[in-house]
């Protein structure tokens, strides 16, 4: 497990070789995705897979998406691109050129996984459909991630993350009833799809080892991945034929709602020991009717949740936020502060665990803090092995070492716009 004292070991130097102790070391992934599915291959790269981001010669579109370092737009300064592409190497290669496709096919022979998010049918139109790739490398796992999957009447629909969260039911249940539905922080349709993509790839790899090295293809729908990320919407419908609606900050279980303290907001929690909570409120002289016996019934509390939170809102209004949460936690009541993400950088727990990782960007002469591991493996570490790649940074080394391209040909390929 990573300990705070090991934090220095997380510091990354550009160009550092892959740590052979990563669980996925030795696996090679060709990442043909656009920004919709960048995170998928990064999840594999974080565990030590050698992920080659195959970019069109003009650079991945994600490089043109902000925010940028110092707000200066440049393909190598996009924080959007950085977040999704650290730990990867960058190869520029045009699959629209015949020679580009030949080189790609050569790389396919030596890789384990291809992840792509092109429009359904595009890979086949390029002569790089599943049959062709499978012929080139029978052990290959191909993961195709598309907004609506590879089949069905809407497979050709256009979508970005906003439209996906709409058609997947994620938008409808967020926000205040009298206002429009609220969009999530972060591109959560893309993130859900990427997590499921990494899950599916690992399942296919595990099956491949078991079954004597036979690969397979994966058809992943981002809409479905987002519907699967809803928690309750379909479940409530199937159980009760009821449409779940947005209710402000009141959680659908009706046990949580935002309240306002003297100096900030907290998340109230009626999930936990009701008696401890009410004794405290009562001691403050603010319990009103909540100490009546009918409130001991769980179903009654759920039914009248609005009243509970109205009383609790009045109770907390003069408390300082942090004091309220500390006292609640001491009673094992799951209250929490409503914070901005900037507060995470000062969070004592994340600090003690060395969560944020310092990554050196030598070409900028600076280091930056990146988000750290979502899981800590005792024997196969999550790591930031390398900073996000500059555009085409590894084109030469990859084509020379893995596709046998001579230095002379590299120059010619660049001149023709293949790389």
């Amino acid at each position: 497990m990573m300990k705070p004292s090991q934090r220095a070991a997380n510091t990354v130097l550009a160009g550092q070789q892959n740590n052979p102790t990563g669980a996925l070391s030795g696996l090679r992934v060709l990442d043909l995705t656009d920004h919709k599915a960048h995170l998928c291959a990064r999840l594999l790269a974080d565990m030590g897979a050698d992920v080659i981001k195959v970019e069109p010669p003009g650079g991945d579109e994600g490089r043109r998406v902000g925010p940028f370092v110092g707000d200066l737009p440049h393909p190598d300064r996009s924080l959007f691109f950085w977040f999704y592409n650290f730990n990867k190497r960058s190869l520029t290669l045009s699959l629209e050129h015949r020679r580009g496709r030949e080189l790609f096919e050569q790389l396919v022979r030596g890789c384990d996984v291809v992840v792509e998010s092109h429009r359904p049918g595009w890979m086949s139109a390029m002569g790089l459909g599943w049959e062709r790739l499978h012929d080139l490398n029978p052990a290959l796992v191909l993961c195709s991630i598309a907004p609506f999957g590879q089949t069905g009447p809407r497979r050709g629909f256009e979508a970005d993350d906003t439209v996906l969260t709409a058609l997947s039911g994620m938008l409808f249940v967020n926000g205040f009833p009298a206002e429009r539905p609220l969009r999530p922080l972060g591109l959560q349709a893309y993130h859900s799809a990427s997590y499921y993509g990494a899950v599916a790839v690992m399942m296919a790899l595990i099956a491949r080892e078991r079954d004597g090295g036979v690969g397979q293809r994966i058809d992943l729908s981002m809409q479905e991945a987002t519907v699967a990320s809803l928690e309750q919407v379909a479940a409530v419908y199937f159980a009760e034929r009821r449409i779940q609606r947005r209710a402000g900050s009141l959680h659908w279980t009706r046990f949580f709602r935002v309240g306002r303290c003297r100096d900030g907001y907290v998340m109230h929690s009626a999930m936990g020991d009701w008696t401890s909570l009410i004794e405290w409120v009562k001691a403050d002289g603010k319990a009103r009717d909540l100490d009546h016996p009918e409130w001991n019934d769980y179903a009654y509390r759920r039914e009248h949740a609005e009243h509970i939170f109205d009383v609790l809102d009045d109770w907390i209004k003069d408390y300082p936020r942090d004091e309220l949460v500390a006292r609640a936690q001491a009673l094992r009541l799951s209250y929490a502060s409503v914070r901005g993400p900037e507060e995470l950088f000062a969070d004592e727990q994340l600090k003690a665990r060395g969560y944020f990782v310092e990554v050196e960007h030598p070409e900028l002469g600076r280091s930056f803090l990146y988000p750290g591991p979502p899981y800590r493996f005792e024997r196969s570490a999550w790591r930031i092995y390398r900073r996000p790649p500059l555009l085409g940074e590894h084109t030469g080394e990859i084509l020379r070492d893995d596709a046998g391209v001579s230095t002379g040909e590299l120059a010619a390929l660049a001149a023709e716009g293949v790389i």
Partner: protein, 403 residues
Amino acid sequence: MTAPAMPPLAGVRVLDFTWVVAGPVATRILADAGAEVIKVERRALEYVGPRRAGQQADLNRGKLSVAIDMASARGLELARRLAGISDIVIDNFSARVMSNWGMDYASLARLKPDIICISMSGLGHTGPLTGYVSFGPTLQALTGFTRLMAGEGGEPAGYGYSYSDMVGGYTGALAALFALWHRQRTGQGQFIDLSQLEALTGVIGPALLDISVNGRVQDPVGYHPQERLAAPHGVYRCAPEGDDSERWIAISVRTQAEWERFSGTVGSPQWARDPRFQTLYLRMHNQAELDRNVARWCAERTAEAAMASLQAAGIAAGLVANGADLCERDPQLESRDFFSVVSLPDGETTRVSGPPFRLSRTPVTVRARAPEVGENRDYVLGGLLKLSREEIEALVRDGVVTA
């Protein structure tokens, strides 16, 4: 190898101590992939709903259930014996519960050296706040989702549900798969410390780097583009359907070519030719005025009709689907059989959400309905642990195992 292939995790046994949502999401994914997931359940918790239909049916499909009193020495011994024949032991308790039971990784590795133990606690196993009590909504509050998903007056709202639990679940499933891969290659098991707070922080996205690199405090997200710039970009209310006025459409117009097609689709009205809207920069700059015009167009048609005409022109547009839209009338989800029908013991059926991907060779699919608490006692204790009928009856009689 061309015979019907087994599911990817056939032969993998998971001893599942998880509860509420995040943990069960992780083991649901493993169960769909063919792992034998044995839920070790305690007395029925009042806020865990029925298993026939709804959330519990969805979370627990394809799993087995045995109810063991973990407060008794004999119950603990049963659980330890089950761990000894399992590949993965997974929990989402706070840090000390498993070690109090003698079920922590160090103890279990003595029973089974290549065991994989995954703990999905709220804030992790190290650090000053290991005992912090958290649920999905409170983790969303701590990470910024609640504050930055705010109403028009800036009032925090956040997700109406526990997206955090889904992310925690995905992270847990992925951790299990990485650990299985590692074991397949090296023969080694290991302990995995998963903090759900850290998992959720990891999906905030580029905003985190905007804070750490540019020092920029984040505004509520609203409908500001979080990817490519786009305008129009947002949700707009459509014509009511019957007495339902909650019909909306999301529209995203990114490129100049898309704007021209958009403008043709809305009938090239005068406003669409307004010089203030002719470049992306100008459309972003004059967004409020643009939105008023787009909103007027949307209000005159149903969400379905607006989506159909915009998509026909290659514009990213989608109706804001509610539960009935998803479950009853989404032709795409239907054609891909996303929702799976599961049969109940009395011959009735219900539906659950399926895996969102198809593997061409080794099927990953919903395998069976969710078990009632303790339903698989005889298989787990008799079939797997080889206890005799008399021994099982004695355990039931003494309350160590519930029927």
